[in-house]
Amino acid sequence: MSRKKASSYTLGEIKQGTPCCVPEPHLQIQDLAVSYSRKTVLSQVSLDIYKGCITALIGPSGCGKTTFLSTLNRLTDHHEGARVSGKILFDGQDLLNDPVDTLKLRRRIGMIFQKPNPFPLSIWRNLELPLKEHGVRDHGLRRRKIEQALKDVGLWDEVFDRLETSALALSGGQQQRLCIARALVLKPEILLMDEPCSALDPLSSAVVEELILRLRDRYTVVIVTHNLAQARRVANYAGFFWMTERVGKLIEFGQCQHLFEAPIHELTAAYISGARG
């Protein structure tokens, strides 16, 4: 696999972040519940997302993992009929109940989707657009930021000579890395990733996974994945969602190793052993 190539990535200078697994909460979620036009799909979710750590969320299809991620950057605002209750504390602010500038919030909390969704613009414009939008007027500065972001995701060498071509002409894996670069270029604090590898072929998937691993310590990452092996490989913390009576709940949350090797809840045990789901 392309591990060798991956190791030549640069993610910029290494910040002396809080070492992982010394838990300092970055986001505190308390008793979160979400319903779509009165039908509750998620309830009683409470957990902390720790700074600089990768938190993996697993669980069967339809149990509300995507919905949970969307509440964190208030994308649920735009879901029709969605009602969110509970508390999400971020930087001393309650994202759900205090007045929040969602545009700024989403700059600080980036999101990557299951299906790569580059804009139908050139590669360059894909990265330039969010920068311009968030007030980076200086052309040289933009240039440097974009180059850095593309290098961070290991895409620079592959595309530096065709930055003006359409982003849609990239392969799936390249598109997904471009989307990650697009989020990184805004220097977010937290990255939400919704099954970032599940639409990719195994080769691209491995490259993207490698990249996620390299984000650890520098960013707080919350990743939803169906691939249990992947969760094990990359995460510090893991949460397991399950659906009871069509309502999603967080069944178990803890250090990744504990959850996978010594699950407390029998549903968790059944799920990770493959007996269920």
């Binding site: 989403r106 700059r107 139908p120």
Partner: protein
């Protein structure tokens, strides 16, 4: 699914029958072209023999009874009217579609869409009637004679607006939701999302709708005849009357004999060739966008 393999006899027979029908379509176009050519042949041949056919495209005036058949002013007028209508209808129709799709609350959107369907259903004679009795006098108050390029453009743009707006709305609706979520997740403003993400993503749909509308504008007859003033002259200002090719046919066909009639068929041929060109462009456009999207 590819259909190359047809498994059994019944299907093969059906296929053969349907191929015949499809061939009929090709025949129809051939027949139209053939008849137009046949009917206009005396005129074209004469022009060719006498070397005057270039005169068609020169400004010698349109006086069929005096044997002068200069079509150039009408060609320019057709193009000017079409272009003007598109330039007006495209941004407004697109804005209407965006409003419908992204801004209007559901109930309002429903009402607005209904109105659009209504507008699409209004026959062209009715637009002509309205233009003749309301719009033209209104312009004349301000710049006589009123019946003018401008009046034609206004009436036409109103007529093709539903086409532009409905096809654009469909194209906008087909933009993947993931793309919009992506834009939101980056904290882009609504305006940026629409201008730089949604519209570019929908551009091929919008373009093909626009080309459809262009063909419609080029081919419209009655409404233009009723408001354009119908003077055969190269358009030189918005308030000048003009005559378009289609209106010319409708105005004179009933009366035309001999060479005059043949020249009208020749202008029909010319219009068809213009449409041919237009759909060729449309095919190029869709092919190019398709190629661009293909993965390397």
């Amino acid at each position: 699914m590819d259909i190359k393999n047809i498994d059994n006899r019944a299907d093969r027979r059906l296929s053969a029958l349907l191929v015949l029908l499809a061939g009929g379509v090709a025949l129809l176009l051939a027949l139209i072209m053939l008849l137009l050519l046949n009917e206009s042949w005396p005129f074209i041949a004469k022009g060719w023999r006498e070397g005057t056919w270039l005169g068609l495209f020169q400004n010698q005036g349109w006086y069929p009874l005096e044997g002068r058949f200069g079509m150039a002013p009408m060609i320019w007028a057709s193009l000017a009217v079409t272009l003007g209508a598109i330039v007006l209808a495209l941004p407004i129709g697109l804005a209407y579609a965006v409003f419908l799709q992204f801004y209007a609350p559901t109930a309002t959107a429903l009402g607005f869409r209904l109105l659009l369907n209504l507008l699409a259903g209004v026959p062209s004679v009715v637009f002509g009637l309205w233009g003749l009795t309301r719009l033209v006098p209104w312009i004349a108050q301000w710049q006589p004679p009123g019946a003018s390029l401008l009046a034609a453009i206004l009436v036409l743009s109103l007529m093709i607006l539903p086409t532009v707006a409905l096809t654009s709305a469909a194209a906008l609706a087909a933009v993947p939701k993931e793309l919009i979520s992506g834009a939101m997740a980056l904290g882009l403003r609504r305006k940026t999302q629409i201008l730089y993400v949604v519209i570019p993503a929908a551009r091929s749909g919008i373009a093909s709708g626009t080309l459809l509308a262009t063909a419609r504008a080029l081919g419209e007859t009655m409404a233009v005849l009723m408001v354009a003033g119908n003077v055969v002259q190269t358009p030189s200002g918005l308030f000048e009357p003009v005559r378009v090719l289609t209106a010319n046919i409708a105005l004179e066909m009933a009366y035309a004999m001999g060479d005059h009639r043949a020249s009208l068929f020749a202008s029909g041929l010319l219009l068809t060739l213009l449409v041919w060109l237009l759909s060729w462009i449309a095919h190029r456009v869709t092919r190019i966008t398709k190629e661009k999207r293909q993965h390397v």
